[in-house]
Chain length 236, copies 2
């Protein structure tokens, strides 16, 4: 039986929604890769990888612009109903967060170029390495919560942000002690302090994405009250 | 003569567009105030003002959510045509940037609480003071370019970002020398380094807002190529 005109429109529309979700997933994958490469460039002072990460950020920026254009064009042509409109607007926000995370990864790569030729003790790097693993996990989990529309998983990501903050505070203090021990450590450790701050901010963006995921699924803002409530429920 | 039904709908719609623009302007005003108060709290180590700035940020966050809701509701109900849709979507982006600037101002205020009780020489502050004046000007100019839809003014803001970056680099080096001179300067100067970075990022958000203003007026992305072209034209 041939499809009616209406069927055709409906199918094409849902295709567009799927395409939008796929574009976010693809952008998320590129951003995760950028974090991994940016940190690897930093830890190994690998200039080639740093350059690659910096160039790759342009592609991430283009992806955001495409998602934006796709979303605006869908709203204009399809005049979506409430729940679809929410999904489309949320995709604009998530792409915005991912673009900023891409920027942070680029800054990690750029920082490696500034560290070239400085004497860095391997121990300086341990904290940065551990923090990278944690925030990468947070980004992955927030994107999973978003793509699977899992409100409980979104809350978990928000709750884990405390761990990122605690790790950052501890790393901040550690780097400061290296600086006080020897003035020659001041310049390299200052650069590493900024790297730690970038990673902490990546963690904040993971929380933002998780909050968008929660809103998408429930239609409600994930306030700290709700987080607290869920925390109490988990503990109880 | 009584207004027809259509007239009524058209008027109410343009009222909504004006209200959206006013909300952005109001949010911009609050954000400018937050930058001023955040820096004042930092420079005078004024705990009360710091607390006020931190609390005021919640209001800025609420303003962003309201602008978001207003925009989504307008799109859903009014099904705007291309140019209005561009204006509405752009307002979501600008509110997002303003919210982040509010966050930076809050972080400046928070930093003042960490500096309490530390011995800080007044000269440490000069660079931060000058940078604040510059980025505050950039935010004001970008919001003016946005509200007046002035593409030339938007380009000016983007071009002035180089000054912000140059001032940041110079301040970074200056603070590093204080740290090397005396280990007791390390902790306070590290905090000031982060303040300088926050201010530099406020400058980046001003550039983003200017780019949105340019896009709104011209329908084109303000790429570095276009900026270069305009720069050459100004010089010629």
């Amino acid at each position: 039986m041939p499809a009616t005109g209406t069927d055709h429109i409906v199918t094409a529309y849902s295709d567009e929604l799927i395409q939008l979700a796929q574009s976010i997933a693809e952008m998320g994958g590129q951003v995760e890769l950028a974090i991994e490469n940016g940190t690897k460039a930093l830890l190994k002072l690998d200039r080639e990888l740093a350059d690659l990460t910096i160039i790759a950020d342009q592609r991430i920026d283009d992806m955001q612009r495409n998602i934006d254009d796709m979303a605006v064009s869908m709203i204009a042509r399809r005049q979506p109903m409430a729940s679809d409109l929410r999904a489309i607007i949320t995709s604009i926000h998530v792409a915005n967060d991912l673009e900023r995370v891409g920027d942070m990864a680029k800054q990690l790569a750029r920082r490696s170029l500034k560290l070239e030729g400085m004497s860095l003790q391997p121990t300086f790097y341990n904290g940065v390495k551990n923090m990278t693993a944690l925030v990468l996990r947070q980004i992955k989990d927030s994107l999973d919560a978003y793509s699977s529309r899992n409100a409980a998983a979104a809350i978990q990501v928000c709750n884990h942000d405390d761990e990122v903050d605690a790790m950052y505070t501890s790393l901040f203090r550690e780097l400061l002690t290296y600086m006080m021990e020897d003035p020659r450590n001041i310049t390299p450790c200052t650069h590493l302090l900024f790297c730690a701050k970038n990673l902490e901010r990546i963690g904040d963006h993971a929380t933002n994405i998780a909050e968008h995921a929660y809103y998408l699924q429930t239609g409600k803002q994930l306030t700290s009250d709700i987080q607290e409530l869920h925390r109490t429920q988990i503990k109880a």
